[in-house]
Symmetry: C2
Subunit: 221 residues, 2 copies
């Protein structure tokens, strides 16, 4: 296994994160790098979903991953072990990534060599929603054990994202999670949101998500 | 059901949150109000644990709850419906509570009339760990579906807290969560941490936690 590149990110107080993100997004279009910002609570299944997604797509696309963590490399190690290139951003205490930190990750990865790059953001439903990272698409995971009321409590995250992946559907039988209720909240907050129900553990539903990704990539590349 | 008091908290840029927290904690000792700061990821089961805890203790102690949410009152409504007094702090975009916000909640509740007051902090394993709220004890919940590696990824939270409640043990059979591994991480990070394994859903293990709380209250009041 290759050594994983570790980048200790510095927080630059950028006067205008939105402008930096717009520049980055333009570069992603020019380089034909489809950059996805993946966000979720701690333990919702970001790494597992990335592993399933990479397994489905890695024969057809060059995939890279930027892992963000406050203080460990466990996720980057799992991704690397699956044969997917990754860099680790260590964020110190920061609760989110901004466009400049993502740029440090893209540079470290050599993102221009990849067609599909995922940012695994810090596990947090609050702060990451407030910062444009320059990604082409924002994707969030909500896992069934977290409950169907989360859109009411973290509305910005559910409003900002283009895609909602409902993970751990294999746990529905042990939970009072009501899928109709959840879909009702989304219909009011963000009616254009794409929703996929999956279980990263069993693989159920993953194909719906990866087929959508293939369509996006076909339009983009 | 009484109307729930809603407090829109203002963030004062306090030069020294630690000093404000120390003043608040001294007042809690003087008033004999055992203030607990409860923290966890979104959906780990803070409100459910509070409901179980209140059911076990409300005949013996006067209990109040300060709910913090970015933008909803669903938790305060659940708590109030169970016959427990609560106030709702609406934090706008803030990802954590500081001592001044907690003071606004305590004043709104009339905390001097209660022996046991819980703060249900914003669902987040990052930011709340960085701010002393003035509580007597810091308690966190980790739920089984989040995984046993979380101490590696959010070490400050696991180091800061006095008590770890491992919730949703009824989901162990559907998860690769390894309790020994988790306990090993804690032994290295925070060997004095009290650990309770519970299921708020089935009630299993709740008594260990509430008995510990009774002991603490007996020593404090």
């Amino acid at each position: 296994m290759d050594d994983i590149k570790l980048i200790e990110v510095k927080e630059e107080i950028l006067s205008d994160n939105d402008a930096a993100a717009a520049v980055l997004r333009e570069k992603m279009h020019a380089d034909k790098t489809f950059l996805i910002n993946l966000m979720a609570s701690p333990g919702a299944g970001k790494t597992s979903l990335l592993l399933q997604t990479a397994a489905a797509l890695k024969d057809d696309y060059r995939i890279g991953v930027i892992e963000a963590d406050i203080d460990s490399m466990v996720d980057a190690e799992k991704i690397q072990a699956a044969g997917v290139d990754s860099v680790q951003l260590r964020t110190g205490g920061f609760c989110h990534l901004d466009a400049d930190m993502v740029k440090q990750g893209l540079d470290g990865l050599g993102a221009e060599n990849y067609e599909l790059v995922f940012i695994e953001n810090v596990g947090n439903l609050v702060c990451p929603a407030e910062f444009d990272t320059g990604a082409i698409k924002d994707v969030m995971i909500l896992s069934v054990p977290e409950g169907d009321d989360k859109p009411l409590k973290y509305p910005l995250m559910f409003t900002k994202c283009d895609v909602l992946i409902i993970n751990k559907t294999d746990m529905l039988s042990l939970s009072d999670f009501n899928m109709e209720k959840l879909r009702g909240h989304i219909a009011r907050l963000n009616p254009g949101m794409q929703i996929f129900e999956v279980s990263s553990r069993t693989g159920a539903g993953i194909e719906g998500w990866t087929n959508w990704l293939r369509d996006q990539l076909n339009g983009f590349l």
